[in-house]
Symmetry: C2
Amino acid sequence: MPQKVNPPYLLFDVGGTDIKSALSDDAGNLLGIRRVPTRHGTPDPAAGLIDQLHTLGTDLMAESPLVKPKAVGLLVCGVVDETHGRGVFSANLGWRDAPLRDMASKAFALPVGFGHDVSSAGAAELRFGAGAALGSKVRNAVMMVVGTGIAAALFVDGHPVSSGGYAGELGHAAVPGGLDCPCGAHGCLETIGSAGAIAKRYAHATGRQVNGAREVLEAMNAGDIVATRIWDEAIEALAFSIAQLCSSISPETVIIGGGLAQSGEALLGPLRLALRKKLSYHREPLIVPAQLGQDAGLRGAYLKAVEAKENQP
Amino acid sequence: MPQKVNPPYLLFDVGGTDIKSALSDDAGNLLGIRRVPTRHGTPDPAAGLIDQLHTLGTDLMAESPLVKPKAVGLLVCGVVDETHGRGVFSANLGWRDAPLRDMASKAFALPVGFGHDVSSAGAAELRFGAGAALGSKVRNAVMMVVGTGIAAALFVDGHPVSSGGYAGELGHAAVPGGLDCPCGAHGCLETIGSAGAIAKRYAHATGRQVNGAREVLEAMNAGDIVATRIWDEAIEALAFSIAQLCSSISPETVIIGGGLAQSGEALLGPLRLALRKKLSYHREPLIVPAQLGQDAGLRGAYLKAVEAKENQP
């Protein structure tokens, strides 16, 4: 929880499936958190999004008339140019190079802190969640969100790595055994190491539909050898990608979030072992679970709103 | 060439095989460049190194008595903790956690700028070589030195990535088809993508000893199918590792240096093609040759010496 007194903010975390919104009070508590499906299929996707956010924000403020937000924190998915406040590209939501920060600022008549959803959620995990729990300041870290797909936030020397929005796309780096990916590349980690891939590959191999990776884990625990193979291959793939990072940016800590992280030590224990087998003189990172859960994005939006307010001319 | 007037510096680039040393004059020109074998087998490797550097430095200064260095730039190989001025580990040269910066400072009674050889050579390439040639400021870049082994320098938002000295070890990240590596890991890029590996694998496959990767390239150009396979596998492995970087830190530019880069477009052309095939929506980096050649390290030592002089209390 943030300790410093701050003015209230209006917060949005826009994903491909849903939008989370909330107000924060001056102690940093989230008020009126709600989750609604992201509107799809509007002719102008960027304008449609801002319109939906405006409705959500107006509702939130009507519910808490005493809370007067002084800035907006807005996170979106896809390729995001934080420096110029633009949504560069979202395959799911359809915008191309849209000036979302300025559009939101105009709609709310407030300064807007704008960021990438996973990158900002990672910053929040470092500041308020898994990073804070480690006690000492973590400066080189990776947060991997392993769910339907796989995305990541990279931190080097305490700063997020953006590279114009192209950094952290670990779900679309190749791993041995990876499959053809809808993104157009071959072998992407996401095709074998994500919760989505685990469920899909198990259903494909057995003809038995499952409701997510958790059911595959349960099948494995009940002795199902197909489930065991698919689960092991996912862990091997995740360990491969983390080992690559150990040789490039060498994070001290890898925080695992997203749906698959809810498997806890059933995932993290074998993942640590698989990683250790791949390393020699490399520095072995701590692998820890994310702690903020579904609210990590709103907490990240909060950090962006604080930035926007502090940098206001 | 540096344009700013600076005082003279005393510069060392310590590799596993040889030490390069020089003075720089106030225009940044390198004077009296020499290259001597690194002394091995002294009982205290760190003290032995400092002793050898002192002899080299004394000789250089005796040759140019009018040049009075005001700081030392010292680069060493291995795992280097630049922040604390320590050589953490060198498999080749044998030191463990040695305070090389302070030892050199005491030996020369001068401030010492201390850094990693490849990281600092990369900084010099960005500042004076391949990066400068690109005109605009390159902020996210990787310099890969592909020689007997493979090492790299990573830059994010214009800053070198160190991670306590463990960053940039791309030669020891796994690639498909990679072999057992003397480092203890399996599949390291270095075992298949380095100039050393190309020569060794060709000799092993044909029973014909070759004097370096260049001879394998010549054999390929003469139609040798074994040479073609080994060369192609090296390029495929290098492209795999660069593609991993495109999904993690997403460099705008990849500078290729070291012995293998002397093959020029015979290497870089196919490498660009192989990389392109692996990418989808990722940002494709420019792949360019290094330009400073053997002097990159001394130029990097120069940058470190400038830093040390400017930060002098």
